[in-house]
């Protein structure tokens, strides 16, 4: 693994790996997550990756990508705690594997740079047709969240837990904010993002294609860069009170989500211990929730605990019959109490530690997983999966009990079936 400083606030990361048939590139732009700019920034990667000055029509662009042996380029927006990340990705089959030996990697790479730096614009504004199309797709994505009740419930509890913070917003921003975006606003956001974002380019593959880092430095030299924004996350302080929200919908199965907060965020030892705790609580099939709530009590098909390292919360979610919801909630809290009281066998701890370590070592076999691991870590020399595995390996029962006691119940959110007459 190689770190290369490209310019101030612009860094390169190259993971040399000959095993894959693919060259995987991501350009990551990191910005503070702010309520007023989430939506407009989040729309940018979608508009930028759907067309560019050279290919203003997206079906022509897609035809070109298909000609490059199915090269893929795309953009997404995400939240990393109180940081917003705009990611531009390209995956291309390596040049030596295509029959006519054309330089597909370099050509796809040039397309990626064109998308970021040479969008299809007119008079300091993105074109209405492109903006309106991507707005509609985003709005329909937001509207469609309701279709999957499990992920809808998770989005809803986050908005409840962080109601007064930017983090409480959806990755896309709200419907109202998306509706207000126009071509001029988006153009302004594009300029601001290029000038103020912390940038990391990640390449995973055989080699860095054709002076990519130098070409990127050159592109950015044409941008007037202001001081790069400060990126930091504040975890939520416990209020000591539990917020309860229940929505009734026309469903046959209820959904129950419990949200817990902790003051720890980041990549340190404590975070590793929190990860082991969450796994013992509701991760693998050896976890307290799987063995008790699902297997012993047959209350749920799924009952899982998922920690979020970047903002410092943990969610337990399950699908449950309305009449069993209270019982399930009590049992989830009982199982938490058991862990807080140190009811952990050596076998359980070993199972969890070896399972997490095993999956961390598997990351090396997936370019997307490696890219995600580093791309979702904003500090300049992120911890490696192996280093994190070492921290996990050091976890003792005492560490886990301490971690279990770091969490406070913050919000209980549920969707329950409508009362039928």
């Amino acid at each position: 693994m190689e770190y290369i400083k490209i310019a101030d606030g612009i860094n390169g990361l190259f993971i040399n790996n000959n095993r894959f048939s693919t060259t995987h590139i991501s350009v990551n732009l990191y910005l503070p997550l702010k309520k007023e700019s989430i939506a407009v920034n989040a729309l940018l990667p979608y508009v930028l990756s759907s067309c560019c000055a050279e290919y203003p029509d997206f079906s022509a662009l897609n035809l070109r990508l298909n000609e490059l042996y199915g090269a893929e380029v795309g953009g997404i927006a995400d939240k990393i705690g109180d940081v917003q990340v705009l990611r531009f990705l390209s995956f291309t089959v390596n040049n030596d594997l295509v029959p006519d030996k054309i330089k597909v990697v370099e050509q796809a790479c040039s397309l990626l740079l064109s998308m970021i730096f040479e969008p299809s614009v007119l008079n300091d504004a993105f074109l209405d047709a492109d903006v309106e199309r991507e707005k509609r797709l985003t709005l329909e994505k937001i509207e469609g969240l309701i279709n999957d009740k499990r992920s809808y419930a998770i989005n809803r509890i986050i908005s409840e837990m962080y109601a007064n913070e930017a983090f409480g917003e959806l990755k896309t921003g709200s419907t109202e904010a998306v509706e207000k975006i126009d071509g001029k606003m988006l153009y302004k956001a594009w300029k601001t993002v290029l000038s103020k974002a912390e940038v990391r380019v990640q390449v995973i593959g055989k080699e860095i294609p054709d002076n990519l880092f130098e070409r990127l430095a050159e592109r950015f030299s044409g941008v007037k860069r202001n001081a790069v924004d400060c990126l930091a996350t504040t975890p939520k302080a416990s209020t000591g009170e539990v917020n309860r929200v229940c929505e009734n919908m026309d469903v046959s199965q209820g959904k129950l989500v419990l949200g817990f907060t902790t003051k720890h965020t980041g990549d340190d030892r404590e975070t590793a211990f929190l990860a082991v705790f969450a796994d013992l609580f509701g991760g693998g099939p050896y976890s307290k929730l799987f063995t008790n709530v699902r297997e012993k009590m047959s209350l749920c098909y799924y009952c899982a605990a998922r920690p979020n390292r970047t903002k410092g919360y943990l969610l337990v979610d399950c699908g449950v019959e309305a009449q069993n919801a209270k019982k399930a909630e009590e049992e989830i809290l009982n199982q938490l109490k058991a862990l807080q009281n140190g009811e952990i066998t050596d076998d359980e701890l070993n199972a969890s530690v070896s399972s997490i370590k095993d999956s961390l070592y598997c990351l090396n076999d997936s370019q997307a997983a490696l890219d995600g691991w580093y791309g979702m870590r904003i500090n300049n020399k992120p911890i490696t999966p192996e280093e994190f595995a070492q921290l996990i390996d050091g976890a003792t029962k005492e560490d886990i009990v301490k971690a279990a006691n770091e969490y406070t119940l913050d919000t209980v959110y549920s969707i329950m079936p409508l009362e039928k007459e």
Binding site: N18, R19, F20, S21, T22, F58, S59, N62, L63, L65, N66, E67, L68, Y69, G70, F91, T92, V93, V98, P99, V104, A129, R133, R136, L137, E140, E143, G144, L145, I146, N147, K149, D250, V251, S252, Q253, G284, P285, Y286, R294, E295, S298, L299, C300, Y301, Y302, G319, E321, D347, N350, A351, S354, S355, D358, S359, Y361, C362, N364, D365, Q367
Partner: protein, 431 residues
């Protein structure tokens, strides 16, 4: 020991096949320098296997969802459940049942042989009691309820139910609360003994291992079955060539109508070969793939969004092209798809698009060899459907536009089934 090497000079990949004395097929794909291994142990037994002929030639019908139920139950053995055993090694383990197969899998970065031993052991050690069956009815009951609320699942199964009169692909994989209530420990043993005969099974491995060592290990750890293989031929009832219904509508709690469009093929009950797979996949991408004028029109006119997808839905004994998505005007989407087909019938295929589509499938296909999981999945598909994986790439390289024209005949107004899930607020007929 005889390892058969299957090699592709075109894409420069190879894998090995070993046939165990029991008839079990072992497919091995070594991936040098990879840190992890992925292994599938499966049987050609899925939700479409709803009836068989017993030794006396009598038709025995099985409760819907029993293959899936059996998959859940196999994790429990007399000496504890498989999850507990994997918990000691740290492997990730899971299982799934689809229309035409049941697979048990693990992935791991170390203790490969310990994990392989657990896998080979628990899948070969059925242990069902009345009490454990009853407990599972509760858990699977909740799984079925979860799917009932999942619009993307419902819209597809409604389409399949409308397309077929009696072909078992129309049956929900998990069954229903009523059908799983009929499952008993005895019935599970009957199905197990019939469908989990090693001669009906496959073991697929991808990762950094030595093939000879794996084969020796399999020989030492798997004894040939005591019972001779039974006739496991799936009984597929006669099926009319046109759909039962051309349209089916239901209401669920969704924001926007969901649609699933399928086209009924004439040769019902046939499994497609590699040539048909390539031809139909190219054609679907040429009808409404992201580089087509139709896709652009659908998107520009607000008729689809990012949920739109197309697939050649295939398995052992069934095949149909399918389009899914969200739209306020699903009828219009169907109409435009049929228009595009009509244009191709009249004017022939667009050569530039044809070549670009071939390249796309070739590049993306090669990239699927980058991950042990997708390698196993490709090998599993080709084994269960009975085609040669590398032949697929050879055909793709050679195929000409005229080779796929026949496939256009699958698409017509008469063969089409449109399934719609409307929001609750939209008044529609519940078919």
């Amino acid at each position: 020991m005889s390892l058969k090497v299957v090699e592709s000079s075109l894409i420069k990949k190879k894998f090995n096949i070993y046939t165990h004395p029991s008839g079990l097929k072992v497919l091995l794909y070594p991936m040098k320098d990879f840190s992890s291994n992925y292994v599938l142990f499966g049987t050609k037994y899925g939700s479409v296997d709803t009836a068989f002929k017993d030794d006396n030639g009598n038709l025995v019908e099985l409760p819907e969802g029993i293959a899936h139920f059996l998959e859940h139950k196999l994790f429990e053995s007399e000496d504890g459940d498989a999850f507990a055993k994997y918990a000691k090694t740290g492997a990730y383990s899971n299982a799934y049942t689809s229309f035409d197969r049941t697979c048990y899998l693990f992935s791991c970065s170390n203790r490969f042989y310990d994990n392989l031993s657990i896998l080979l052991d628990f899948v070969r050690s059925p242990y069902f009691t009345a009490a454990t069956v009853e407990k599972e009815q509760g858990i699977i009951g909740q799984e079925i309820r979860m799917y009932d609320d999942m619009p993307s699942w419902r819209v597809m199964f409604n389409m399949l139910e409308a397309m077929f009169y009696s072909h078992p692909v129309r049956i929900d994989i998990a069954g229903t609360a009523q059908s799983i209530a009929k499952i008993s420990d005895k019935l599970l043993y009957d199905c197990y003994n019939r469908y989990y005969n090693l001669s009906n099974m496959f073991l697929i491995l991808a990762g950094d291992f030595n093939c000879d060592e794996v084969v020796d290990f399999v020989k030492d750890n798997l004894k040939p079955c005591d019972n001779p293989p039974k006739d496991i031929k799936t009984v597929i009832p006669d099926e009319p060539k046109t759909p039962l219904k051309n349209k089916v509508v239901c209401n669920l709690d969704v924001a926007k109508p969901l649609f699933c469009i399928g086209f009924k093929e004439k040769n019902i009950g046939a499994t497609p070969d590699a040539k048909r797979l390539v031809a139909m996949e190219i054609l679907l991408k040429m009808i409404a793939g992201t580089a087509t004028p139709l896709y652009k029109q659908l998107l520009d006119e607000g008729l689809i969004n990012e949920e739109f997808s197309l697939e050649y839905f295939t398995g052992r004994g069934f095949a149909l092209p399918m389009f899914e998505g969200e739209s306020d005007q699903p009828e219009k989407v169907l109409e435009l798809i049929l228009n595009q087909v009509e244009q191709y019938k009249q004017n022939g295929l667009d050569k530039t698009l044809f070549e670009a589509t071939k390249r796309e499938m070739y590049g993306k296909g090669i990239r699927r060899f980058d991950a042990a999981e997708s390698v196993c999945s490709m090998l599993c598909d080709s084994y269960v459907l009975g085609y040669d994986l590398f032949e697929y790439f050879d055909i793709l390289a050679e195929i000409k536009p005229e080779d796929i024209l026949d496939e256009l005949n699958v698409f017509s107004k008469e063969s089409a089934v449109l399934s719609i899930v409307n929001p609750r607020t939209v008044q529609g007929v519940e078919n």
